[in-house]
Amino acid sequence: MLAIKTNALTKVFRTKVKESGLRGSVSALFRPHHRDVYAVRGIDLTVEKGEVLAFIGPNGAGKSTTIKMLTGILHPTSGSATVLGLDPLRKRKQLAYRIGSVFGQKSQLWFHLPPQDSFRLLAGIYELDERQYRERFGALVELFELEDLLKVPVRKLSLGQRVRCEIAASLLHRPEVIFLDEPTIGLDVVAKQRIRDLIARLNREEGTTIFLTSHDAGDIERVCKRVIIINHGEVVLDESVKTLRYSYLQKKIISVKYAEKTKVDIPGVDKTRESEYAARIEVSTARRPLREVVAELMGLGEVVDITISDQPLEEIIAGIYMDRGRGGEADEPDTGTGR
């Protein structure tokens, strides 16, 4: 059963182009120039009910624009979309009862009031009766461990706590599909992991279809089963996470700092930067296991700081283009809108 289907979904924004400075402003006043910016170019995708899909790409790739067309916020320029069999524009209100959404940059909680007040208002908006509300509210408070946060004004919550409340708020009406747009943006490692665990649990226990956008490769590896990579408004890759991990996510980046001058010379790794006290190396886990490399680095001297991170998404996309003989396209100037 399909949860989402799009057919050549396209969004073009018409933006004003103006030379810099006063002369440019005056000239634009009399002879305005416009440019069409393709935020999304003919995307075809299908998502099954209960699926956990990562929809990822660099900034300005068209992720948020796609989500906004799927939820009825934006009108597509051409093409069509259905979510749970409904047209998001024509049946916006009907669809709103069945979907939930969290936009990392836009809060649906009132800044000056405690989350429980916003939950109560949202219950009214989604027309939950008292019994339904109490039952659902209790379950979400337990699942998201919100007990201590409920009476604290939102402005006093940490970002991670606020995101937990945001996700819980978007689940009050038991949506069948939830759109999560950059839910882990700005979070520290621990908070990110907690949010990822909650999303996975939500899918497992309630069968909710998850449509997750992110520019963090870690989000996909730990939560999703399928990944669609989008760049410049086009689908670059549509694969299982297993395949992606095998083909493109084998590279880890280790940054290490020593207390004393240390020469980092380890076989089977690529050094991308080195100074007297620090080094940044790239490890292909297919060539050398990560724990071996870390152990060797620790053995070279007294380590004061070490971080292990995924390869940036831009590099993964560049790798995909290279494999397909379209090297360099990932480095094109950003035509996205960041909307």
């Binding site: 916020i73 934006l74 009108h75 009031l113 007040d117 908006i125 027309e127 909307r339």
Partner: protein, 268 residues
């Protein structure tokens, strides 16, 4: 029919929920709330002295006595206050559109127009409302029938002011930024509604009954109140419905042009 009644009931419930919610939100900062309310009331009251001085020299201005001018002040302040207490977003829709803040409303299963307009309250407008009602009671005293009529005018006037401002702000969808037009409309409406009708020329009076409908906010109610004949009352209802409909249709057409945005937004 039952579907329409059901829809009206649901939206009335939403309106009541927002009203309670917004009141709770402004009460979070009690000192600021009280200062803004009393500050606005005192600011408005200062103009009474100006008019008192004028009427010490002349018995009437363009057929209006002191009590008549006070009626205009009381009604326009209370109506302006109610418009912004109940429909706080009527004057900020342009900013909401430009900054992409319509997204949360579009994601909720409610009429977007209604949802946006009543989801906010303006704190100082409580002061305008209180001032208008107190001024009326001080000048005219408490006669239940007349007071109810006055409150009816306040409600209709508030709805008209909110609808007119909202319609002007909606032009942002088409012009890119309509805040200057909206500001101009508001200033016209306030200026027109605070002085005796006949001091204005014909062209201005034409505007008062069309583009900047101050005539329907204060002058028609004033005539009804003075003569106590309700024949013109339907005119007020028609004016409200016309502006409400105009704003609604403009908004619906404009939504197709909405471009959202990526600004970090919190709801306050």
């Amino acid at each position: 029919m039952s579907t329409a009644v059901d829809a009206i009931r649901k939206h009335a419930r939403l309106f009541a929920a927002y009203f309670r919610f917004n009141l709770a939100a402004v009460m979070e900062y009690r000192a600021s709330f009280l200062m803004q309310v009393f500050g606005m009331a005192i600011n408005n009251a200062s103009f009474i002295f100006f008019w008192k001085i004028v009427y010490l020299r002349v018995p009437a201005v363009a057929g209006y006595e002191f009590r008549d001018v006070m009626f205009l002040w009381a009604l326009s302040a209370a109506a302006f206050g109610v418009a912004h207490v109940c429909f706080g977003n009527c004057g900020s829709l342009g900013r909401v559109i430009i900054q992409g803040e319509l997204d949360p409303y579009l994601l909720q299963p409610k009429d977007v127009y209604f949802n946006v307009i009543c989801s906010k309250t303006i704190v100082s407008a409580w002061g305008d409302t209180a001032y208008g009602i107190i001024l009326y009671l001080l000048v005219y005293g408490f006669a239940p029938g007349r007071f109810a009529l006055f409150l009816g005018f306040v409600a209709l006037g508030g709805l008209l002011i909110a609808s007119a401002r909202f319609a002007a702000e909606t032009l942002t969808f088409f012009l890119g930024n309509a805040s200057a037009i909206s500001r101009l409309l508001t200033e016209f409406m306030i200026s027109f509604s605070l002085y005796p009708e006949k001091i204005f020329g014909n062209s201005v009076r034409w505007m008062m009954y069309s583009l900047a409908p101050a005539g329907f906010v204060v002058f028609v109610p004033h005539r009804i109140y003075r003569s106590l004949t309700l024949a013109s009352l339907p005119l007020l209802l028609v004016a409200d419905v016309v502006y409400l409909f105009l704003g609604y249709m403009l908004f619906r057409a404009g939504l197709k042009r909405y471009e959202s945005g990526n600004l970090v937004v919190t709801r306050v």
